[in-house]
């Protein structure tokens, strides 16, 4: 029986696209309830590594353990069932659906009567979830393409965290946001940590990483360079590792 120190472990992951080796022998450990910052230059392989966790990509080699048990994440459904949620770099909402429909997409509430959708109940729950996360969307019947960038990002985050995930992956959650909205997202991330959710935060904004993370994982040209305790390193050192 292996010791269950980690929520999540990726071991010796390889991934190539045609001739490009995007990931080479990468191992990553995520502790219970920690925020792990994942940094690296453009094309270092950050998104690819995370997409392997969500089942969007399949690794060519390597193994994944969730709470000590090996899991085979063959598609996004499996990943969600395991308890992994991802907030994507580019929001990934359905522009034509309203707020509750987006929030509940893929796990709609249905009734006993022929499994019909319970739209009213989903609307009420959506309002409750938005309120709990202090997400500022007044009219929840509004379609996603009518929301501001910040609101869309908040909704995408709400979608990821409102169904009791164990691990939430955020890929550049603040990339397209104004300063005010970045602060809100940082607040949200810290609140999720309090609830015991383990988080992997991918971002180019080292300020944000140093504000919230427990450890920092550095990826370079598809290889793991180093992992540092945030309290025992500084920006200069991380930047040196990255380039």
């Amino acid at each position: 029986m292996r010791e269950n120190n980690y929520t999540l472990e990726m071991k010796n992951i390889h991934k190539s696209f045609g001739g490009i080796h995007a990931l080479i022998d990468v191992s990553l450990e995520l502790r219970h309830g920690e925020i792990l910052g994942l940094v690296g230059d453009n094309a270092a392989g950050k998104s690819t590594l995370m997409k392997i966790l969500t089942g969007a990509y399949q690794a060519n080699r390597g193994r994944i353990f969730f709470e000590g048990r090996e899991v085979h994440i063959t598609n996004p459904r499996v990943s969600r069932q395991v308890g992994i949620e991802m907030v994507y770099q580019d929001f990934e909402l359905c522009p034509n659906l309203n707020v509750p429909a987006n929030l509940f997409l893929g796990r709609e509430i249905t009734g006993n009567f022929f499994k019909a959708l319970k739209n009213r109940q989903m609307e009420n729950k959506a309002v409750e979830i938005l309120g709990r996360l202090k997400i500022d969307i007044k009219n929840s019947k509004i379609k996603a393409n009518r929301l501001s960038g910040g609101q869309q990002q908040a909704l995408a985050i709400g979608k990821a965290v409102s169904f009791n995930p164990k691990v939430v992956i955020m890929d550049e959650p603040t990339a397209s946001l104004a300063v005010m909205e970045i602060e809100k997202v940082i607040d949200l991330i810290l609140r999720f940590k309090e609830q015991g959710i383990s988080i992997i935060l991918v971002t180019h904004r080292l300020d944000d990483i140093f504000k919230v993370s427990d450890r920092i994982f550095v990826l370079k040209h598809g290889r793991r360079v180093d992992v540092k305790e945030t309290s025992q390193t500084n920006k200069d050192e991380i930047i040196k590792l990255m380039f």
């Binding site: 996004p76 969600r80 522009p95 659906l97 893929g106 609101q151 979608k159």
Partner: protein, 340 residues
């Protein structure tokens, strides 16, 4: 796909102001069903005034029958457009269902009920064939259904050698020719079908997921939905509705003509687009499909009443599609601006 972003967030009151400024006429553009319903009412009034024979019970019955036939064709098309695809083979599947019905009744001497069931199964199978090619082989729906359009049409002519089946029992034409409460049975069947569409897209997971797929395939996929299965099912349903339209066509005509369905493609697109089924996918409206069918039938009717050269009909329909698509673009533009 990226969701459109505002540069700046509008406050609610700004939105309302914008809306008032945009005005009544333009808000009609924002709500497709409202605009098209008004257009239908205007057309109805114009025709009633222009032609004394328009509001007769006979003509109303006849118009309602045509509307119903077209609505089934439009539903078959809209079901795949909403998911971001298209079905160029709707008419060919309809033709298959027509000759299947005729063949089993006329040549094989089956009871009409059995022949109808076989025809509907053929429609399901044809739709499934489209769906499998699109999702399993990964050919886009335009190319896939363009190919099967010829495959299915060829089968129709191969079986019939171009001859119609005419030994259809009188009893079989009751559904297509008679009615109740002043309106044809076909019309009431259409009401049921549109009710089904409304229910499907408002109260079923499948409908919600198909809408989502049309909005953003990627977002739907990462939400754990098996997008391929949804698209495949939408093609199966499309095939079924095309086959229903075909069977009803036989019942209306009292014979099974192999040429049935050849003009369905353009009609199905015209109605679906006019009815608010955005070509880019992600929207559908049962009311819009009804109103779209009424408009197309009225315009066809009107052209005959006006005595224009009906041999130009395809040209008119093509122009109507262009007009509808243009209105759709203008609508999208104001929708962006109106901020509601």
């Amino acid at each position: 796909m990226h969701v459109k972003k505002h540069n700046r967030q509008l406050t609610l009151s700004e939105r309302r102001e914008d809306f008032v400024k945009v005005g009544f006429l333009k808000s009609l553009l924002v709500h497709p069903e409202a605009g098209i319903t008004i257009a239908v009412v205007i057309l109805l009034i114009v025709f009633s005034v222009a032609s004394p024979s328009f509001l007769t019970a006979y003509n109303i019955f006849n118009v309602a029958r045509n509307v119903a036939s077209y609505a089934f064709i439009a539903i078959a098309q809209a079901l795949v457009i909403v998911g971001g695809g298209m079905n160029l083979s709707v008419g060919a599947i309809g033709g298959l269902a027509v000759v299947t019905t005729g063949y089993f009744i006329d040549v094989q001497g089956f009871s009409p009920a059995i022949a109808v069931i076989i025809a509907l199964l053929v429609g399901l199978a044809a739709g499934a064939f489209n769906g499998v090619i699109i999702t399993k082989i990964g050919i886009n729906s335009f190319v896939a259904t363009l190919a099967t359009l010829f495959v299915f049409t060829g089968i129709v002519y191969g079986i019939t050698k171009g001859y119609p089946y005419i030994n259809i029992p009188k009893s079989f034409t009751i559904i297509g020719r008679k009615g109740i409460w002043g309106l044809p049975y076909l019309f009431w069947l259409m009401v049921v079908a549109l009710g089904f569409i409304f229910y499907l897209f408002n109260f079923r997971r499948f409908g919600r997921w198909l809408l989502a797929t049309g909005g953003s395939k990627e977002a739907t996929r990462v939400s754990g939905v098996n997008v391929d299965r949804i698209i495949l099912l939408s093609h199966v349903l499309s095939g079924l509705f095309a086959a229903i339209a075909g069977v009803l066509w036989v019942s209306r005509m009292g014979s099974a003509q192999p040429a049935t369905g050849q003009d369905w493609l353009i009609i199905s697109f015209a109605i679906a687009i006019i009815g608010g089924t955005a070509l880019s996918g992600g929207s559908i409206s049962a009311l819009g499909l009804l109103m779209g069918s009424v408009i197309i039938v009225l315009i066809r009717n009107g052209l005959i009443l006006l005595g224009v050269n009906i041999y130009f009909e395809q040209t008119y329909l093509g122009l109507i599609i262009l007009l509808a698509v243009t209105v759709d673009r203008i609508r999208a533009f104001y929708y962006q601006r109106a901020g509601i």
